[in-house]
Point group: C2
Chain length 278, copies 2
């Protein structure tokens, strides 16, 4: 397990770091980012919030644009942001270079279909390999929370719902909340998982939440989000949660869109939510 | 004076907006960004902090990466971020496309040399045309402060020092503090202003501050900044300020580099500084 340091930048008294490593889950070289709060320099071990980004993002978007480090530094939380797919010349991409499939669009599943199944195993990477690495290398506790945006909100919700003991809490911004019933989700799940829609349903937050559970969950959704009706469908998630008595808090935020300006406006509340639920 | 709305995004209860207009100072179409805090929606007029960005930036870098809107929303401050040079096919650029001259590198001067003098008049644009437009179109007071980073720190300091009645306060991150004596400054000033170094000195913060003044000034500089010794030279500014009794506060910030992670870490203190000095 060798880690190459890509960058090392002081931020709010802590350190933003980028690393590269050879991922066994994804069979390629991967970059990820970590924010270590100032408490770490004082010898403390800190809990971790994993952040899953949306379509087209890398490890950089959240770290550069969400402004999360300020509150993470205050609360003593490490932030970990993986890339959104396997990458590199050897990793197959959408033949037409579409933004919503292939590179930058791993959808946080383990692909079962050729040619994707060799590399596109973001579910294993996020759930197993990356935390194992983080918990080996950095002074962190085994307290974990998970959050994300759009495709990454889908990833956070589904990974948390499928692994209730693994995280203390889950939050999402503008998640793709019912991917079996939207164009982004259908396009990706069909290619990664094949035509049997039963397999897709195992990666659909609205399906999974209907089975119940109790992990604290907070979802923020802007009501001026261009993707709200066609792609995101938070109301489907809320309806399913209500039926199964799942403790979901869904907040429709008036006037906000799908951008990082929305995330920046509410990330503090998400980190405080995680912090109250370790 | 016609303004085209490019984007309109809710952020921290206020609005981040991008506009395009035909600049008479620069003889080209220009884009700029404004953050209007929530107080504006309640009918209040608010003061303005102008932000000047560094080499290669547009109006977007600061708005996306500094996280300034949170505190601006709290304090009731509008933020205005212009581009860093005239742009477009009709605007001459560095023949080799260098990052430190031409497009993205206007250095906040009025060029006197051909072929630059037709368009490269960022000094007039920032000092006159843009505030005039902002104060006509938006519900702002005539309270102004100015700040910037690197080349934009140079711009903020020199424009403020040359126009003491125009701004209430000035701050800078990692400014090019003595451009007549560094490669970035010499390259740009020679081409924009000609070979007579006396003209350059009229755009050098360390020269100007030696003449005295009393506008409150705060400068933050990371001591792990790669450009510190060769390009930035804050100590020259501090020495000149000391001789002229100028009220400069220069803070060397341990471990910080030249990036927006540094700006994000301290922008709150800069906005509070401006807010205390209206």
């Amino acid at each position: 397990m060798s880690l190459e340091v890509v960058s090392n930048t002081k931020c709010f008294g802590g350190w933003h770091k980028q690393y590269r490593h050879d991922s066994s889950a994804l069979s390629c070289s991967m970059r990820f980012a970590v924010f270590l709060p100032p408490q770490v320099s004082k010898g403390e071990s800190v809990p971790v919030v994993y952040w899953l980004s949306g379509l087209t993002c890398t490890d950089e978007n959240f770290m550069q644009k969400a402004g999360a480090q300020r509150v993470a530094a205050e609360l003593g939380i490490a932030l970990v942001a993986p890339d959104t797919s396997p990458r590199g010349d050897g990793v197959p991409d959408d033949p037409e270079g579409a933004y919503d499939f292939g590179h930058g669009a791993g959808f946080y599943v383990n692909a079962t279909e050729a040619p994707w199944s060799q590399h596109y195993r973001m579910y294993d990477y996020v759930l197993q390999e990356l935390p194992q690495l983080v918990e080996t290398v950095f002074p962190v506790t085994q307290q974990r929370a998970i959050s994300g945006h759009s495709m990454g909100g889908h990833g956070a919700l589904t990974i948390a719902l499928k692994n209730p003991g693994r995280y203390s809490s889950v939050t999402a911004f503008s998640p793709i909340a019912n991917p079996v019933d939207c164009p982004w989700g259908q396009k990706a799940l069909r290619q990664y998982l094949g035509s049997d829609q039963q397999a897709w349903r195992e990666h659909d937050a609205s399906v999974l939440i209907a089975r119940g559970g109790s992990m604290p969950m907070l979802v923020d959704q802007g009501d001026s989000d261009n993707f709200l009706q066609e792609q995101l469908k938070p109301q489907t998630l809320a309806n399913a949660a209500e039926k199964s008595n799942y403790p979901l808090t869904l907040r429709m935020q008036q006037g906000y869109d799908h951008s990082y300006y929305f995330i920046a406006s509410f990330i503090e509340e998400h980190l405080r939510f995680h912090s109250e639920n370790w």
